[in-house]
């Protein structure tokens, strides 16, 4: 790799020191502050750090962190990989990730949906992986049609190879200006944001997995990769049983995307898949924590589509604890609770907590789901009989629980 210019070397080194200090003082993992310091000293640092590496950018509403992890795990077979494993998915986090692995010839970066155009322009990444778009934290996030439109502009005229989920009409539209697209039929559980055509606004008609606009020519492209329940069919028609440890259909979809990305890096399925199977939990998601004979499995759900995925993973025979906050990273508006169909929880012992438990309480009452209210996660856990329990929490509620167990991974 070419040597970084002196100013960039200094910026990168000081950023790493700031990150170390932040970690040592217990303020976090340091990836945001480190990157900020670096960018302050050298605004062009991300471009310089990205140069001469083969990068994949991963973006979506849900599954970014997990898919980034799966791709990284596969690409490690090829060599060193720089990655923002802790979900710091804006430019400061990217600078930090690339600074810490200066010699890595590969990079896999999770990118916030809004920042994708900027990060793609800056890094010139050769591969972009796009999975899904749905309503999410609308008090601070952009409207998703506008996001997809920005993706279109950013991808247009670049040589980028896009790997995109063609079962999500909005992602398909957002990706389709790219010079090269590999379509993956990755599935779409949440459909409430794709009843109308992103191109013309007409009604989208669905027949099985297929979809097409009734009023214009926009339709589902033919996929090269297909997720078929617990297996993936590759572009040559070969069927691979996924057999990954991460639970649920959403993660099998993430794995299908990861295999397509790995192949774009020249790594065939038979080599990539074993690495995907080694991943058991990602930044605390799906991990099980234990206290006083109670084993709580932690599921993260940040928006309506995420809750559907969490319900899919959750064991219907177990009691369940739900925790909801509305701090900045969660979105301060809890309206989304009304987009989640909680009726699936009827018949299970349900315990609720979190700062916005009163919003959740009313939501469950209207859905005719009986529940018990707890003032804290600790109290909710103590109310369980010894044994297993599932926990679904939104972002800061999830991080609070993780912290209680020493930032469980």
């Amino acid at each position: 790799m070419t040597q970084l210019p002196l100013r960039a070397q200094l910026a990168s080194a000081l950023g790493r020191s700031a990150a170390t200090l932040s970690r040592m003082t217990g303020r976090g993992d340091g990836s945001v502050i480190g990157g900020r310091v670096g960018l302050m000293l050298e605004p062009d640092l991300l471009r310089q750090l990205a140069r001469d590496r083969k990068l994949a950018l991963v973006s979506a509403t849900n599954g970014k962190t997990t898919t980034t992890r799966l791709i990284t795990s596969a690409l490690l077979r090829l060599g060193q990989v720089a990655t923002n494993a802790f979900g710091a998915n804006m430019p400061a986090g990217h600078v930090s990730a690339l600074s810490q692995q200066k010699g890595a010839p590969y990079g896999v970066l999770e990118v916030d949906e809004k920042y994708l155009p900027e990060v793609l322009d800056t890094t010139g990444a050769s591969v972009v992986c796009l999975m899904n778009l749905s309503r999410d934290q609308m008090d601070r996030a952009a409207e998703i049609w506008l996001l997809a439109q920005k993706w279109r502009k950013a991808l247009s005229g670049k040589p980028t190879h896009v790997i995109a989920n063609c079962d999500d009409p909005l992602v398909t539209w957002g990706a389709s200006t790219a010079a090269k697209v590999t379509w993956v039929a990755g599935g779409q559980r949440w459909k409430e944001d794709s009843w109308s055509c992103p191109e013309c606004g007409g009604p989208l008609e669905r027949k099985g997995v297929d979809w097409a606009c009734r009023e214009c020519t926009f339709h589902r492209p033919e996929p090269e990769w297909i997720l078929d329940d617990d297996a993936v069919i590759d572009p040559r028609g070969e069927r691979w049983l996924l057999d990954i440890q991460l639970p649920g259909l959403a993660n099998r979809s993430n794995a299908a995307m990861a295999l397509a990305v790995a192949e774009a890096f020249g790594l065939p399925v038979d080599q990539a898949l074993p690495s995907l199977r080694e991943v058991t939990s990602v930044a605390g998601r799906y991990t099980t924590v234990e206290r006083d004979g109670r084993q709580a499995r932690l599921l993260l759900a940040k928006n309506p589509a995420g809750w559907l995925e969490a319900f899919d993973v959750s064991d219907p025979d177990l009691p369940i604890i739900l925790s909801v906050n509305a701090k900045g990273p969660d979105g301060r508006d809890t309206s989304w609770l009304w987009d989640v169909d909680y009726r699936i929880l009827r018949g299970r012992p349900v315990f609720i907590t979190g700062e916005r438990r009163l919003d959740l309480a009313l939501r469950l009452e209207v859905a005719d789901v009986p529940f018990a209210t707890c003032t804290s996660f600790t109290e909710a856990l103590a109310m369980q009989p010894p044994g297993r329990v599932d926990v679904i929490a939104n972002y800061t509620a999830f991080q609070q629980i993780r912290s209680e167990f020493g930032r469980a991974v």
Partner: protein, 237 residues
């Protein structure tokens, strides 16, 4: 199979105008009617389908700029909603759906777009996004407690002589002139998006009363706990 006497709740264009929790208003109306033994039938009208004229309560929600313009075009062409309101049906129009009811609203570049003229209001695109909790005192003629909810919009709405302000804001932006929402006859418009009726069950009951007559009281403990927590938190800020 619901009987002919069932209360018909019509949700207009959830495929275009249902960004964030709008379904909550449908669920709260259903739930509050059913708990009083009033049978309900809910009709989801997609934008390709005609709007039935025989509904009792019509709901229309929030949405992005482009779907909002499409919804206005389709509602104007369809005419079903106009006829239903002329027959005395009730309506709650929220955010983008509220703006559509007027003579004009601001499109994605701020250009004026024709509304459907069911309310004597006109909206434009404001300079900044209004995002956050809103608290307002409702017009005394309606006899409702304090309005609470969340707004997220860029609209500025001016009211004509044919409507009355729904409420006077204490916190938040609302129409942009110290008032929030409006009403005329049995039509209510508001910027409180998402499940406004979950935060304001008395407003839900007002809509129900207009079509189903006097209502039995309900145990509203959960509603009241949520309202109190929100009002305390927001007014203390």
């Amino acid at each position: 199979m619901p009987s002919d006497s069932a209360l018909r709740i019509v949700w207009i264009y959830p495929d275009l105008l249902s960004t964030y929790g709008d379904q909550g208003n449908v669920l709260v109306l259903e739930h509050r009617a059913q708990r009083r033994g009033i049978e309900t039938e809910t009709i989801h009208v997609r934008s390709a389908d005609p709007v039935p004229e025989s509904g009792d309560i019509y709901l229309i929600g929030g949405g992005e700029d482009r779907p909002q313009i499409l919804a206005a075009e389709r509602l104007r062409r369809d005419g079903g909603l106009h006829r239903a309101i002329a027959h005395g049906a009730a309506m709650l129009a929220v955010c983008a759906g509220y703006q559509i009811m007027g003579s004009t609203f601001g499109g994605e570049e701020g250009q004026p777009v024709d509304g459907i003229g069911l309310l004597d209001i006109a909206s434009t695109r404001g300079p900044a996004r209004a995002v956050g909790e809103l608290v307002a005192e409702v017009d005394a003629n309606l006899g409702l407690p304090t309005l609470t909810g969340f707004e997220n919009h860029m609209g500025v709405t001016s009211l004509g002589p044919g409507v009355k302000p729904l409420s006077q804001t204490i916190k938040g932006v609302g129409n942009g002139d110290g008032f929030e929402g409006c009403y005329a006859g049995h039509v209510v418009g508001t910027y409180l998006h998402g499940p406004a009726l979950a935060r304001n069950p008395a407003l839900a009951d007002l809509l129900l009363t207009w079509r189903a007559g006097e209502l039995a009281p309900l145990d509203d403990t959960r509603y009241e706990q949520l309202r109190q927590e929100r009002l305390d938190t927001v007014l203390a800020q």
